[in-house]
């Protein structure tokens, strides 16, 4: 069980940079961890191409998951941006949450951008409702 998201500063900057570059649309990607620390940011295409929706491009997701397995990393988180709202899961985020890893949200509504992380706990992964639990984000360096 993840107790916190531990991310080196340069990788946090890379994630936020991807979100800023993605405007006006939401941006998204995944994080790989090793021994509980983020080691890689996968910047991915928002296949929904929307300011209010995101979906990982499945081909990129396939390649990234494969890389994570091949490198002996772990899927450490999923991130996306909220361009105009706070860094808190929307009802859509909860309804569509499928992974049990932390979901990081980068809010671009504030300057500087705010990063928060949440686990969305569901009875099973297809459930539409879930409980939101915040996970601390620790940025190092």
């Amino acid at each position: 069980m993840t107790v916190e998201v531990n991310i080196p500063g340069p990788l946090a900057d890379e994630m936020v940079g991807h979100c800023l570059e993605g405007r006006p649309h939401e941006a998204c990607g995944i994080l790989a961890t090793k021994d509980g620390i983020v080691v890689k940011v996968f910047r991915m295409t928002n296949a929904s191409g929307s300011p209010v929706r995101y979906s990982l491009d499945p081909k990129e997701q396939f390649a990234a998951y494969r890389k994570i397995d091949d490198e002996g990393w772990e899927l450490g988180g999923v991130f996306h941006s909220h361009t105009h709202t706070e860094a808190y899961p929307s009802p859509t985020d909860v309804r569509m949450a499928s992974e049990e890893v932390p979901y990081l949200i980068v809010s671009l509504a504030e300057e500087p951008p705010v990063i928060r992380a949440f686990r969305i706990i569901k009875e099973d992964w297809l459930a539409e409702e879930g409980r939101i639990e915040e996970v601390p984000v620790v940025v190092n360096g």
Partner: protein, 91 residues
């Protein structure tokens, strides 16, 4: 040589943590039945009661989305790789 099926993190609790499972060649439907035989409970995570892929499940054969091939009847030959992916999305 068998078919390699890659299991995403969210389903590894059904596979005892295994991330790659080797199965005998067949259709995707056959592969899901083989998975269920080895890891009971997994099939209902992947398919609806009507026997279709859940809308949040993507299945890739090599690099192609099975929805754009022959769906569950897509044939997977020895040496090919199948990836099961949860759709990751939100708003």
């Amino acid at each position: 040589m068998a078919v390699e099926v890659r299991i995403p993190t969210v389903f590894r609790k059904f596979t005892g943590g295994e991330s790659v499972v080797e199965l005998e060649a067949g259709t995707i439907s056959d592969l899901i039945d083989q998975l269920e035989a080895r890891f009971p409970g997994l099939k209902e995570q992947l398919l609806t009661e009507e026997g279709e892929l859940h809308r949040f499940v993507n299945v890739y054969v090599n690099d192609e989305d099975a929805r754009y091939l022959e769906k569950l009847e897509t044939k997977v030959a020895e040496g090919e790789t199948v990836a099961i992916l949860p759709s990751v999305a939100g708003g």
